[in-house]
């Protein structure tokens, strides 16, 4: 095993146990690990954004292709062409393209054409405007890029929710009350699973209707409505229970993975030494605290 791996393992074991130490009580070792994690995550995020987004999608196209464009002396024509095409939908773009003369088509040739890249100046300018947040006088300018981001995300989310979530889910609930063939299967082979199959659709339909009625607050939940709403609460409780159960499962999985890491042949001795050091630290601080409390009394 090389040194970098050993140092990495020592750090990983120490940080894991430092985070676990919070289960005993809040302490400076835990705080150190926590700050280390936050700083590292922020740094990593910036570096990744720079190398995988800023450089390939903005800086390199602008500095390489657009510089070549200016050298070729066609910048103005290509910018005008790209902006004209950007205004149109795909069909209109195609139509306009067909209408172009061979000379213009030559300038806008997709192979040699870099004019599209000029449009990247717009997101660059928008991105720079975000930094006006740092200057009180010009901070209002940052509202423009924010408006673009919020507007585009809202549009996409709205469409996605309606088209990809709401309508398909409504469609999925338009089902027969009894699953076709389930009764026949149950009578042919009576058992728990065939019986549950018979119950599948009724449970789904009753669950959806009762939960919807529970969230219908325009009518007081009394009488029959109150009864159905109570059934809805039951369904909601079951779904919350399922969600909680899955959350517990996830947390236990994370714990298992960390324990598995701590017990690996490459880390188990590091774990033992770190654990003993942490134990010594807590015993010493406990004695110190006790001593301090006695003096204060």
């Amino acid at each position: 095993m090389d040194w970098s791996m050993t140092v990495g393992n020592v750090l990983a074991v120490f940080l894991t146990l430092a985070i676990f130490s919070f289960l005993y009580r809040d302490n400076p070792i835990y705080k150190t690990a926590e700050h280390f994690f936050v700083g590292l995550a922020a740094g990593y995020f910036i570096v990744i954004q720079y190398h995988t987004v800023f450089l390939p999608n903005l800086w390199q196209p602008l500095t390489h292709d657009v510089a070549a464009l200016f050298r070729s002396g066609q910048a103005a024509q290509q910018l005008a062409g790209s902006l004209a095409l950007m205004q149109l939908g795909a069909a209109a773009q195609h139509g306009l393209w067909q209408a172009f003369s061979p000379d213009i088509k030559g300038i806008l040739d997709p192979v040699t054409f870099h004019g599209w890249r000029l449009a990247l100046i717009v997101p660059l300018a928008m991105g720079l405007l975000m930094f006006t947040q740092l200057m009180k006088k010009y901070a209002w300018l940052s509202r423009w890029p924010m408006a673009v981001v919020i507007g585009s995300f809202s549009g996409l989310a709205l469409l996605g929710n309606a088209q990809g979530d709401l309508l398909p889910q409504i469609k999925a609930n338009l089902i027969p009350f009894i699953k076709p063939g389930s009764w026949t299967a149950f009578w042919a082979d009576p058992g728990l699973f065939t019986f549950l199959d018979v119950l599948w659709n009724p449970v789904l339909i009753i669950g959806v209707i009762s939960v919807l009625i529970y969230f219908f607050f325009s009518v007081e939940h009394k009488g029959a409505i109150g009864g159905v709403a109570a059934v809805g609460i039951g369904f909601l409780m079951i779904s919350f229970g399922a969600a909680y159960g899955n959350t517990v499962m996830t947390r236990i999985s994370l714990l298992i993975e960390r324990f598995d890491f701590l017990l690996k042949p490459a880390t188990r001795y590091i774990t033992l030494v770190t654990l003993l050091l942490l134990l010594a630290y807590f015993i010493i601080t406990a004695f110190k605290d006790k001593h301090k409390a006695r003096i204060e009394r």
Binding site: V53, G160, G164, A172, N246, V248, T250, S253, L254, D260
Partner: protein, 284 residues
């Protein structure tokens, strides 16, 4: 007047939480050291996940979106490793992207585990296209122009030079989207933005905590297969006959759950006992 001593049931009800942590820790450690060998049964969504990949036409391309980070490593690394084994056994091109900044590193870890077992070549059979900021915008942008959205791979190689991407322009050239999801952006956004709009077959492996949210998508046929959490990853490893970390962790997972169930029952029982005892004492 001396303060009356609390009954043992009352003391137990207010047990120091650190003792509970210790019991859970011991309960998880023991099966990791001495496995119990509990059986793993394969559920329908996991079997469907496997069947979907088995049904991919030879030579087709699949898009894998690894939308997770080290926080979900325990659940999604086993699923990712098993998925890559499965995909590399088949004659399909694998395009891997990530909408989470730490995703590409996780993909590299998973690829490092499977590379030795297969003869697939990077750039020809599979590619790690790296991370891209933009969540839903990236998803939609891929439907318009994939090479423009990811002009270079994770190592900075221009995608135009990679044979694996030859002929792939957008979703219409992709046979299936596989999302490995730990939250936002993840399976939910892929279903909302891509599945219905591009009529794209989609399967998902997700963190256990998100699974209840995605089961309706599976039931509605929007997801053709679903692996939810470490338990389902263990099922996937079992069905592929490639037992790894997920299967090994199942004993500890089961014992951890039994202990938590035990504490929930104990806590409720103690609460009721103390309530009834105090009521009886007050009546007397």
């Amino acid at each position: 007047m001396a303060k009356p001593t609390a009954r043992w049931t009352e003391r137990l009800e207010h047990l120091d939480r650190r003792i509970i942590f210790l019991v859970v820790a011991v309960g998880i450690l023991v099966p990791l050291v001495a496995p119990l060998g509990l059986p793993v049964t394969v559920t329908e969504p996991v079997q469907a996940f496997r069947d979907q990949i088995d049904g991919l036409p030879p030579g087709s391309a699949v898009l894998v979106s690894a939308d997770w980070d080290p926080g979900s490593r325990a659940e999604l690394l086993p699923a990712t490793v098993a998925l890559f084994h499965h995909l590399f056994q088949r004659d399909v091109r694998v395009l891997i992207i990530s909408l989470w900044p730490a995703g590409p590193r996780m993909v590299e870890q998973a690829l490092a585990e499977v590379r030795g077992a297969h003869t697939k070549t990077y750039g020809k059979d599979y590619v790690n296209l790296g991370f891209k900021e933009g969540a839903e915008v990236v998803m939609v942008s891929l439907g318009d122009n994939l090479p423009a959205t990811f002009p270079a791979d994770y190592y900075g190689t221009p995608v135009s030079t990679l044979p694996v991407l030859r002929g792939i322009k957008s979703y219409k050239d992709i046979a299936m989207v596989i999302t490995l999801s730990a939250g936002y952006p993840g399976t939910k956004e892929w279903v909302q933005q891509v599945q219905d709009r591009y009529n794209m077959p989609m399967i998902s492996a997700c963190a256990g905590v998100s699974a209840p949210e995605y089961y309706p998508y599976y039931q509605a046929g929007q997801l053709k297969g679903l692996i939810g959490g470490l338990k389902a990853s263990a099922e996937y490893e079992t069905v592929l006959e490639r037992k790894g970390f997920a299967v090994a962790a199942m004993d500890a997972q089961a014992l951890g759950h039994y202990i938590i169930i035990g504490f929930i029952i104990l806590g409720n029982a103690l609460y009721l006992i103390n309530k009834w005892t105090n009521l009886g004492a007050r009546k007397e």
